[in-house]
Amino acid sequence: MADEIKTEAAPAPERTERSGGGERSGGGERGGGGRGPRPGGSGGGREGGRKFFRRKKVCKFCVEKIDSIDYKDYRTLGQFVAESGKIVPRRLTGVCTPHQRRLSTAIKLARNIALLPFAGRAS
């Protein structure tokens, strides 16, 4: 219980700190992707969601007790794929190592069966 309270209290000072980091990663993505105008709205929302997880620095799969990362579940996988179609690194998402390993395999399988794009947005 004590831990929960602590994590609830923590985000307030961290928020300002991390938002700087978010901007930095955004800049990196822009440099890497570089293809056309990016569809903002929903993507930005997802980005925000990811930032939220990153702020808390916990693994989504550990917290929600998702044991199986399924390649068919493209909605969940989509949260861990950048606009450019790249797999988002662990240091940005906060996913733990074992889960990131499974996640990346699942994303690769999903790409193979055209559930997720190899590059660029699904158009």
Binding site: D67, S68, L109, R111, N112, A114
Partner: protein
């Protein structure tokens, strides 16, 4: 040696339902003739593809859960490859993963039970314990 596989394939969006049925039934007969079995058929419906496949922007996803040997999968994949309306397929072995999940579940259940019995000693607290773990 029986294994469980998930066989997912995409057929072209203009393929009529009856022909899909026919394709699935021929695949099933191929399975049964080589000692396998089809455990489940799931039609995931028409979906937009993440990228164009053979100039198609969308496709009908079909998921079969198959039990059988590796040779059977080889045969099924060969069949899918020569079936013209099938534009993409993917076979994934799932039994190992299922085994792993069961193991995790067992560990988790035993832990839950242990915590429940620990909580049961103070009489009323037992009711509270499952609520917090759930």
């Amino acid at each position: 040696m029986n294994r469980t596989y998930e066989l997912m394939f995409i057929v072209r969006p203009d393929m009529p339902e009856e022909e899909q049925e026919k394709l699935i039934s021929t695949l099933e007969s191929a399975m049964t003739s080589s000692g396998g079995a089809m455990k489940k058929v799931e039609r995931m419906g028409k979906r937009r593809l993440a990228y164009t496949v053979r100039r198609f922007y969308e496709g009908v996803y079909i998921l079969l859960t198959v039990e059988g040997s590796g040779g059977l999968v080889h045969e099924l994949e060969r069949r899918l490859r020569v079936t013209e309306p099938v534009i993409k397929f993917l076979t994934v072995r799932v039994d190992e993963e299922q085994k792993r999940l069961e193991k995790i579940k067992k560990i988790r259940d035993s832990r839950r039970k242990a915590s429940a019995t620990a909580a049961a000693a103070p009489a009323e607290a037992a009711v509270e314990a499952p609520a917090t773990t759930a």
